[in-house]
Amino acid sequence: MTVLLDPRRLQSRRLSRLPDRAFVGGTGAVGAGIVALLVLILVLLATNSALTWQTFGLSFVTGTVWDPVAAVYGALPFIAGTIFSSAIAIVIAAPIGLLTAIFLAEYASRRIAVPLTFIIELLAAIPSVVIGLWGVFVLGPFLKVTVESFMVDAFGWIPIFRGPAFGIGLFAAGVILAIMILPTIVTISREILVAVPPAQREAMYGLGATRWEVISHVVVPIARSGIIGAIILGLGRALGETLAVTMVIGNGQDIPRSLFDQAQTLSSKIATSFNESEVGLQTSSLIALGLILLVITIVINVVARVFVGHATAAEAGLR
């Protein structure tokens, strides 16, 4: 029973290198596959939209007309719809999100902060189509008779507030997006605020500062880049969000001129038209919209990661 001399064991020792190599090789191949996947997505979207780029060149990006009858395609109305709806979302969600994160990280006791954070994280888990359903039947009609009719009555003489407002359009889409990106902004900002070292705060308290002064003069400035990153991550999500926006933005075809105009984003245009498009230039142009969206979101996400630093698994799971 001398273990060391057991021939079977010796043999398995020698052979055991093989499984190790296979293990590293196998998992490594899968890892490489992740990178390949990203490259493949870029390449396939580029090759399948080649016809559009050949036909219109870069003027596709600045073209304002999407006219299947004349076979003229331009992406600008959808780029504008994407940017405007996301901008409305950020204008609403960034301040509310940041102040909520401050409350959860600084003012609220742990007993309250933990369950509240949990609830806000749940909001991120609700499927887009369910939010869209709620947007169509509840939020849109509500906005129409409250916020929108108020703004049209009060500021309707300013072109960007020109009515009529129907509860379906750019503004409703912006509000829906704000709701959807709020969890991203709140949870990441909160984590970053919590991570600010206590020594910094204590020094300030020692000087007799109130809690708000500590927050506004110490904590937020230190956490600033992380908070910006959180907002940019929220922006990234808003830019690519599809279903809920598709259901409430109204699928207008022109560059919106008023907050209440119907519009279309890059992703909602693809969602509503892809299956119905005619083979050839129209399908190719829809895929070209996808390529534009892909490039925008990649840039936004890379910028955000630079600000936030390493993304945590929590964020990855949250999305």
């Binding site: 979207l45 994280e121 609700i126 189509v129 939010i131 109130t210 002064e213």
Partner: protein
Amino acid sequence: MTAAAVPIPDHLRRASGRERRAVVDRSMRIVTLACTVIAIIPLVALLAFVTINGVAALNVDLITKPPRALGIGGGAVTAITGSIQMVALATLIAVPVGLSAGVYVSELAGHRTAGVIRFAADVLVGIPSILVGVFVFTFLVLPFKQYNAFAGSVALAVIMVPVIMRTTEEILKLVPGDLREASLALGIRRWRTVLSVAVRVGWPGILTGIMLAVARAAGETAPLIMTALGSRLLNIGDFGRPMDALPLFIYQNARQPYPALNEQAWGAAFLLLLAVLVINILVRARSLRGTSR
């Protein structure tokens, strides 16, 4: 950054402003609290409306009957079975891939390689899901000239993989290095060490990631539009043909002029939301307990 680097504002040095500063502090507390309430209102309103309208629309037909023409009766059984099948297949594809990639990046890869793969995964997480649908369409629908449930499953898997990979990686990072070293010192090979020590210890966390990915996939609509397409026929097991899914069913029925179909959309939304939230609450509540800082 040190405390000394922070400039001390003038008004802090004056004692006279103390009362005013306390008022500001108290008001900001209220303002931030108000914002928190505003942030939670949509969630409460949404849950309330989906529950009220959804429960009212629940009946046996909804979960046992296929859809019917013209909004007379019918149900969502095609969508329910379709969602279960496609998410199950997507999970079967995504778990081994995500797990392997996570293990590789965390345990085996060099610093540089790991960084590149991690970056790719982060970018993949951020890609709008509809683009995943367009991508899968180009190579799993177009060549076969047939919308099919397999393409839908692959699209969902593409969305799940980076989530599972990143969670696995983060969880494995938390597994103490001592355990691995002890294992390796005992002469146990690397692959066994990784699988039976690191992965085993981290498994509850990894499972959390998998379940969150499942919940996310179950609610995805956009990538299914141009892959699985949806179907009015009950499709059990035939992944070469179109298949319905709960999110597609909701999207389809929400825009119908028939109130009966709108009600079915609410009912289906309630079922979907219930499934997604139960998974989320279970796994998140557990990880809250596990990692309470």
